[in-house]
């Protein structure tokens, strides 16, 4: 990028801070699913807007990297656009919206539909890193529960779901067990995306800036979503295809189209949607003159 800022260290953070975060990252990768405390810094955005993810990305990014940033699957929302242009400025890296071209993908609340590959890194922005917080407000106690792998409590939440709704109604931030040892929140991704974490070839890093925690899932690590024997984990399903590109088996957002209750379901992953629509267009280009709205 030619509008790169001068006078800043590459990636905005100073080298000492990066060393501190890298140490936390190494520890996190060595103990999959374990929450490593780190000295979260101020970055030029409010806490709760992805400062944890930004610090992790800033620490691992280099000049050869290609960055993609998504917010709820979309490349064109405020959070995604501003973080992408932030790193274009302070790290001088190339950015992209294509999942397969990116070497680092920072995400809020989604895993892209395009399968990730070896060598890619996905950085999650995490608002609440402690999966047990709902039932146990004391940090000292949750740490002890993690240390002793005493996770009966988590099942109480799932039990309550079934008792109230007849099925496990947790559809996002669905708790997972990493490598058979540590209970972890998957950051609030939809439960639809949970299976993608399991034995994923990409490195998955999680940063919680406000809560000052970093955790990680190394490539090809077992990530099991909790469930009961008679009520096993079931990811969300959608009955209709995407209204724009016609994809099935993808995560859909409901878009309100008018004031009369009209709505349509479209892909939450804008990159996937555009490419599927474009491919469908190319196939029918010679006969079909109607434009598919972008």
């Amino acid at each position: 990028m030619n509008d790169e800022l001068t006078g800043y260290n590459i990636g905005y953070l100073d080298e000492q801070t990066k060393r501190m975060i890298r140490r936390a990252l190494l520890k996190a990768v060595a103990i999959p699913g374990f929450q490593v405390p780190f000295a979260s810094r101020e970055v030029p955005m409010p806490r709760g807007w992805g400062t944890g993810g930004v610090q992790v990305t800033a620490t691992i990014i280099g000049e050869d990297d290609v960055l993609k940033v998504i917010d709820q699957g979309a490349d064109d929302t405020t959070n995604a656009v501003s973080i992408r242009s932030f790193f274009a400025k302070v790290a001088g890296v190339r950015t992209t919206t294509r999942t397969d071209e990116a070497s680092i993908i920072q995400t809020r609340h989604r895993i892209p539909e395009t399968p990730l590959a070896e060598g890619q890194t996905i950085v999650y922005q995490v608002p609440g890193p402690e999966p047990l917080r709902f039932l146990e407000p004391r940090e000292t106690e949750t740490r002890r529960l993690h240390a002793l792998a005493d996770y009966g409590l988590m099942y109480v939440k799932l039990y309550e779901d079934i008792a109230k709704f007849g099925h496990i109604a947790t559809t996002y931030s669905y708790p997972v067990m990493v490598d058979g040892r540590y209970l972890m929140t998957p950051s609030p991704i939809p439960s639809f995306d949970n299976p993608k974490m399991h034995r994923n070839p990409a490195l998955q890093l999680f940063g919680a800036g406000r809560e000052k925690r970093i955790f990680a899932v190394p490539p090809y690590t077992d990530v099991e979503s909790l469930g009961f024997e008679d009520y096993p984990f079931e990811p969300q399903r959608f009955d209709e295809p995407c209204a724009i590109c016609g994809s099935v088996g993808v995560y859909l957002d409901e878009v309100i189209t008018d004031d009369a209750g009209g709505a349509m379901f479209v892909c939450s992953d804008t990159d996937h949607c555009q490419r599927t629509a474009a491919a469908a267009d190319a196939n029918t280009a010679d006969t079909n003159t109607e434009e598919v709205p972008a």
Partner: protein
């Protein structure tokens, strides 16, 4: 139930708050299936003793030995924290004076009773729920309240729910800290009746702390009288209450209102 092997052996036990002793020089033995009452005025160290025995408070001096189901005798201060937690989950119960301390007030009654089961590895919703329903019935809580939270329960119901939650994993030893105080007399009577029948049915060993001699008389086999952090008298409940030896015990017994 073998009568010759103690479940709990306590020698010279004490717990210190800062430079002050909460309880000191306590010796006691507890056999399987036995109910031991600890009585005394407030501030006499009863609850401190209970906390120390159940490993909620640290043991400042003395020793506590516990016999595991396989017959091995362990020193509680020498086993790891995770082993103590395992005891809490599988072998021991603790009934708090205030039910809100022993329950999750915003989790349903079924979830409260099911939690200890889930903590010990139950992963079948249907079976957990069936066990919870069965226990609610045993403690006389209507089964249709299974999905209500204890926040909506009366004091007596909360206390019975707490007992169900403690007994669902079939413990061998239950600690009770004034389980009936704060309840009105008719509810107290029903609760005591329930505790007494469950104790006999399940062959539980119980250490119950109370300031109410009537409670001790009704459910305990042996009684320990505490004053100023020390045990001043102990023996069979009927002996202690009918023929008190220590001056303080005589005072305690004579202070009961005769109706």
């Amino acid at each position: 139930m073998s009568g010759d092997q103690t479940l709990l052996e306590v020698r010279g036990a004490g717990h210190r708050y800062g430079d002050r002793y909460g309880c000191r020089d306590v010796d006691l033995d507890l056999w399987p299936g036995e109910v031991l009452a600890v009585v005394g005025e407030s501030g006499s160290g009863k609850s401190t003793l209970l906390g120390t025995l159940s490993q909620r408070l640290s043991l400042t001096e003395g020793s506590i030995h516990y016999r595991l189901p396989d017959g091995t005798r362990v020193d509680l201060s020498e086993i790891s924290e995770s082993a103590v937690r395992r005891l809490w989950r599988t072998e021991w119960g603790f009934v708090h004076q205030n039910a809100a301390d022993g329950l999750r007030m915003h989790v349903s009654a079924g979830g409260n009773v099911g939690e200890p089961l889930m903590a010990t590895g139950w992963r079948h919703y249907g079976r957990i729920r069936a066990a919870a329903a069965q226990w609610l019935e045993r403690v006389e809580i209507p089964v249709d309240r299974i999905d209500d939270t204890p926040a909506t329960f009366s004091g007596g119901m909360r206390q019975r729910l707490q007992i169900a939650r403690n007994l669902v994993v079939s413990p061998r030893l239950v600690f009770m800290d004034e389980p009936t105080s704060g309840l009105d007399v008719s509810v107290q009577a029903r609760l005591l009746d329930l505790i007494r029948s469950l104790v006999t049915e399940l062959g539980l060993a119980v250490i119950i702390v109370t300031h109410d001699l009537a409670v001790a008389r009704l459910i305990s086999h042996r009684t320990l009288v505490m004053k100023d952090g020390r045990v001043i008298e102990s023996g069979l409940t009927d002996r202690v209450l009918d023929d008190p030896q220590a001056a303080y015990t005589q005072l305690l017994v004579s202070s009961i209102l005769q109706g």
